[in-house]
């Protein structure tokens, strides 16, 4: 019996073969973690180069073209290869089967395949983007990408197209797992919100990604064959590209933020030792966000010449999405009320998320207003807004989740002090980097320019200094996590006294997650 218990999923060996051919969702999580961390720091280096250039008003560090290529690299890597897969492919992969009480995902081999597609496709794209000097930005807007850019656009869109399949496979796997693999007694309203969030994300992955795929194919066809679908001089319509692109890419924002919301629900409940406030409302809000998210895409096209009537409709729906988002934020806050709050590192990340997401969400309402958007469109206000959602929201929650489940994944603890310092560095550095950008954008600084008038220098310097603090917040975990992996104290099965099936098994968990499949008798977050 004891020998059985000590055989966990990592004790199967460290040979290359045992990793590269594994079908264990927990090991695949690690494969993803390695690739994603690599991509993240590459995108981060590009971000630092951008901030370095913007320290001074004239374009003295990078050329105009070099600057375009740098922000394209930053956007392409961060959006397509970091943010989209970040939480679902790592924490989702590790936790979805454990949280529903299953031995693995429904299709383990497909899961491994999706990692290969993701990693090889990602490396291919990045080599092409750097080597081919792609300068279109992450959006590949036509007609610039199809007619004018003389860089390796075809290879880049082909790479993103390929990586799309990895998203689709992960989505299918999660949907089927949630539907068919739940343990006895685990009915839908007993699922942790993390599972709900990843389920809703998977629906978006499955419904939206193929539309992006066909759009990217057409850019490639347009460049190769000159078919003119997006070329106005041949009877085509460039707005069509924006329609199809944003039909994917607006919901993609929810691909990034919904899993983050799932993580935060787990963090807030565990470290206030309270049941989640309004569980059913939270579930409804998750589903509403994922479905309403599909009818707001035109808010990216207010100034692109789309019809005014469509603009009004899209604006209205965009306001509407704010309602479930507000429901979630208020419910988290209510969960804290009269809780026994402990300020551990994961909780600091969770609370940071609440603050940053609130700012990001509220500024989103500015941008959803038709008239105001004309002033703010394509300025640093937009840049600040979506960084508050994607970095302040998604990345903060990703790190919070990593800190929360690290003891479960590795069986080891990390330095409490250093992790708190890292979490605070992230919060301070982030605000210092991006809050000045709201002010810059509001006073008229357009995005994607490598030089600017002297009047903007103070705010730009603040932003650049903030990015250094932010970088420290990202680098520190790398150090103490590596240390913990080898030297950390044993964590035990449940170091946080958390609720949830994943905490009822050993850390690290055995190969099939549970010694025997658990029987579920109550809802999630049974803290009292």
């Amino acid at each position: 019996m004891t020998a059985e218990v000590h055989k966990h999923y990592l004790s199967g060996g460290w040979s290359l073969h045992s990793w590269l051919l594994t079908t264990d969702h927990k090991r695949i999580c690690w494969l993803y973690l390695v690739s994603i961390t690599g991509f993240f720091f590459l995108g981060g280096i590009a971000a630092l180069l951008i901030r370095l250039e913007l320290m001074t008003p004239p374009g003295d560090f990078l050329t105009a073209e070099g600057y375009n290529e740098t922000f394209s690299l930053h956007g392409i890597v961060m959006v397509w290869f970091f943010l989209i897969p970040s939480i679902p492919a790592t924490l989702g992969n590790f936790l979805m089967p454990m949280m529903v009480g299953a031995r693995d995902l429904a299709f383990p081999r497909l899961n491994l395949l999706s990692w290969y597609i993701y990693t090889l496709g990602g490396i291919f794209t990045i080599v092409m983007v750097i080597g081919g000097g792609v300068d279109t930005g992450w959006t590949f807007y036509t007609p610039y990408s199809s007619l004018f850019s003389s860089s390796a656009v075809i290879a880049a869109v082909a790479g993103v197209f390929i990586v799309g399949f990895s998203s689709i496979l992960t989505g299918i796997n999660f949907i089927v797992t949630t539907h068919t693999m739940r343990a006895p007694g685990m009915h839908w309203l007993r699922l942790p919100l993390f599972v709900w969030a990843n389920y809703a994300t998977s629906l978006i992955l499955v419904l939206a990604t193929p539309v992006l795929s066909v759009t990217l194919l057409l850019i490639a066809a347009e460049r190769l064959l000159g078919i003119g679908i997006f070329d106005p001089s041949l009877g085509g319509d460039p707005l069509l590209f924006q329609h199809l692109f944003w039909f994917y890419s607006h919901p993609a924002v929810y691909i990034m933020i919904l899993p983050a919301m799932g993580v935060v629900s787990e963090l807030i409940t565990c470290f206030s030792k309270n049941r989640i406030f309004g569980y059913k409302g939270m579930v409804l809000a998750i589903m509403a966000i994922s479905l309403f998210g599909f009818v707001v895409w035109g808010h990216h096209m207010f100034t692109s010449g789309q019809s005014l009537y469509a603009g009004i409709l899209f604006s209205f729906f965009s306001f509407l999405v704010a309602v479930p988002s507000a429901v979630k934020t208020l419910n988290w806050t209510a969960t804290l009320y009269r809780g026994r709050i402990t300020f551990t590192a994961p909780m600091i990340y969770g609370l940071s998320f609440l603050g940053l997401f609130a700012i990001g969400g509220l500024t989103g309402i500015f941008l959803a207003a038709l008239a105001l958007d004309v002033h703010l469109h394509d300025t640093y206000f937009i840049t600040a807004h979506f960084h508050y959602i994607m970095v302040g929201g998604a990345v903060t929650a990703y790190l919070g989740g990593l800190h929360f489940w690290w003891p479960k994944m590795t069986g080891r603890l990390y330095s409490e002090l250093w992790s708190k310092i890292a979490a605070l560095a992230l919060f301070i550095g982030f605000n210092l980097t991006f809050f000045p950008q709201f002010l810059l954008g509001y006073s008229g600084m357009p995005r994607r320019y490598h030089e600017y008038p002297e009047a903007f220098q103070l705010l730009h310097v603040m932003s650049s200094l903030g990015s250094v603090v932010l970088a420290i917040g990202y680098l520190l975990p790398l150090v103490y996590f590596t240390w913990s992996l080898f030297r950390g104290a044993p964590a035990g099965a449940n170091p946080w006294q958390a609720e949830g099936l994943e905490w009822r098994t050993a850390s690290p968990p055995p190969k099939h997650n549970f010694v025997s499949i658990p029987r579920v008798t109550e809802g999630p977050y049974a803290y009292r």
Binding site: H179, L207, D237, L240, H243, V295, G305, Q306, S307, A310
Partner: protein, 86 residues
């Protein structure tokens, strides 16, 4: 083995095909495209319900099938609405 049902469905499909092609040759007017799509939908429904066994599948799979079609409808409808009101 039950050959009867698949063959009957197949005959039904061929009859509908004949109908839609016949309409195309014989009929003119603004309602014709609508009829073509109604017939195409009927044929697709026959294929899905019988050859793809939607009839014997659980409700969830039916929901996925319908959901996919609705989502496609959403994409086309909203895009067209924008183009037509420009």
């Amino acid at each position: 083995m039950n050959y009867r049902q698949p063959i009957l469905i197949w005959l039904g499909l061929l009859a509908l095909l004949a109908l839609t092609v016949g309409l195309n040759v014989l009929m003119t007017g603004p309602w014709r495209p609508l009829l073509h799509y109604v017939i195409a939908t009927a044929m697709a429904a026959l294929l899905m319900v019988f050859f793809m066994r939607l009839r014997a599948s659980d409700g969830l799979i039916r929901l996925f099938a319908v959901g996919g079609v609705l989502w496609l409808g959403l994409l086309i409808l909203i895009t067209l609405a924008e183009v037509l009101t420009r």
